[in-house]
Symmetry: C2
Subunit: 331 residues, 2 copies
């Protein structure tokens, strides 16, 4: 039975992966948590479910990290979006521990290098992995359903709606590959058992939707008419330039950072249409639809029904108030 | 008939490609040359052979560059090793001209990002190509036969021997993929006609040899005993550190630059063994041996016989005196 270490098991992506690993029942699962977090309620729950907890201090020594990774066949990093570079000291420890497949944190839309800070930080990690000749798999998953719906005039889906979808990028006709966050783990368990994906990039996703199609569907299912605000490339570029003014003085300013990140996503996904299986193939990814045509996933329509029925779950709930501030600056 | 533009047709790699394109007879060939070089003897010779010459000024406007690329189906860049970044302004013009396949300058050993300046500059170009969604093929070709032989005590092959092989990296047992410079073009003509290689990296090479095997062969065929000087990773790292001291003050110092480049190659090719089909697959390359098993190439043994027979041709003859200085600093 393969021993799989998971970093970030309590995060959005990590939880999805954890549930799928448990469901699969073919893995011995080790959750790697910060030493200070071992006794946190979320981790105690994991322990009670029979999942091994191990302390991993990303600021600790190479030896202590390698010891925490001892005996793992696979290591999956689902570290938070703002902690990508914290993986850098981890990589030599992964090498030292002899992990047979490292899945560094990807789990994002498909993008080229040089258009998005988080993607570029991931590239730094990937390049280090390759310099150390570590067996790897990079998995990208497109855009979350959970980040894709606009608000309704009645406000009845506000509880589940993220900030990134409150305006439509460009003409709203660029298709984007979308995945239910809850399905991410299903794909990951398939990918890590698959020899074809060793030392490769894989793009997995559920369905392709344009922004206009998303609005059309939500209008049809809700019976409400949703105002459509189209934002041009030029406007997003202006937002990035404005954010850069703040970031020059306060490089980690949360609101400016979020404004820039969302504008960069809008340009890539909505305007240049990069979050597609075609562009993924262009960049060298294997196509998850071809590898795993049989995965049962949530349809986007069923997700929208859930949201309208009051049964969906929001994401990044701790960050939402701050992210909404970032969006308000655009209003 | 596909219209192929070639940048750097008079260089070492460019000449090999040009001859193969002519030999193939299936291409309309356009040599792109600097405006000031249009009347140089080497280019007049090309013109006399019926090859179209077009002026391309890499420091000119986007519009003038796009006009020079007008109507090309394929553009191959075989620009000099120190001019990689001169391709940056060219890339948007390639986009503008609608070139159907761009082969940015690769033609090197296989390496990860972050271990060699020239490779990293190429990566900058590749990343820009991908940001602009330009159809591309990256072709690497391993290590030249023409850079692989040590001197003989009798000095009788000095006329053909490059500087990079005067000591053996590590224990001399790392295999390295080697290609006769004259064969590079044969592979390139195959690759650019092949739909499987569109938007992909391809690794083509002739034969795998270790340094010790190269010395053994040369000793056997020459009848001379060649002293073997082994250089450790630590020594190459020291050479790089020394070069960096000079480069900090004089960033383009030729001797320091060459010393660093050769040490970085030795670490990658000779110590870490990265210039192999296995490592190329690990990095995502297609394998030229599988794609084109029928290419007739010069065997390494036949090349060594040519060298011993006084019939081989040296490379980078203008740079050799300078490069030898870089090597002397290591003696």
């Amino acid at each position: 039975m393969a021993r799989v270490g998971l970093l970030g098991a309590s995060g959005e992506t990590g939880s999805s992966i954890l549930e799928a690993l448990v469901e699969d029942a073919g893995f011995e699962i080790i959750a790697l948590v910060r030493p200070a977090s071992l006794s946190k309620p979320a981790n105690v729950v994991l322990k009670d479910r029979g999942i091994e907890l191990r302390a991993l201090d990303l600021e600790g020594s190479q030896d202590s990290m390698a010891a925490a990774l001892e005996g793992l066949d696979i290591l999956i990093s689902a570290i938070g979006p703002r902690d990508q570079l914290a993986q850098i000291p981890l990589v030599p420890a992964v090498k030292k521990a002899g992990v047979k497949r490292f899945v560094p944190c990807g789990f994002a839309p498909v993008m080229p290098v040089g258009v998005h800070r988080s993607r570029d930080q991931k590239e730094e990690v990937y390049n280090l992995v390759k310099r150390l000749h570590i067996p790897y798999t990079i998995i990208d998953i497109g855009w979350w359903y959970q980040f894709s719906l606009p608000k309704l005039p009645s406000c009845r889906i506000d509880y589940a709606v993220g900030p990134a979808s409150q305006s439509i990028a460009g003409d709203g006709n660029a298709p984007s590959a979308m995945t239910d966050l809850r399905d991410v783990g299903k794909y990951v368990t398939r990918v890590i058992k698959d020899e074809r994906t060793l030392n490769a990039m894989v793009f997995v996703y559920n369905e392709l939707w344009t922004s206009n199609q998303v609005y059309d569907l939500l209008e049809k299912l809700s019976g409400e008419k949703i105002p459509r605000k189209y934002t041009s490339a030029k406007d997003y570029e202006r937002q990035i330039a404005e954010a850069d003014v703040t970031l020059k003085v306060k490089p980690e300013d949360f609101v400016a950072r979020a404004q820039k990140v969302l504008a960069q996503y809008a340009l890539s996904v909505g305007i240049r249409g990069e979050n597609t299986p075609e562009f993924a193939r262009y960049l060298g990814y294997l196509d998850g639809k071809k590898l795993y045509p049989d995965v049962k996933f949530f349809s986007f329509e069923s997700y929208v029904q859930e949201v309208l029925g009051g049964k969906a779950k929001g994401v990044y709930e701790d960050l939402m108030p701050l992210m909404k501030n970032a969006i308000e600056t655009d209003r």
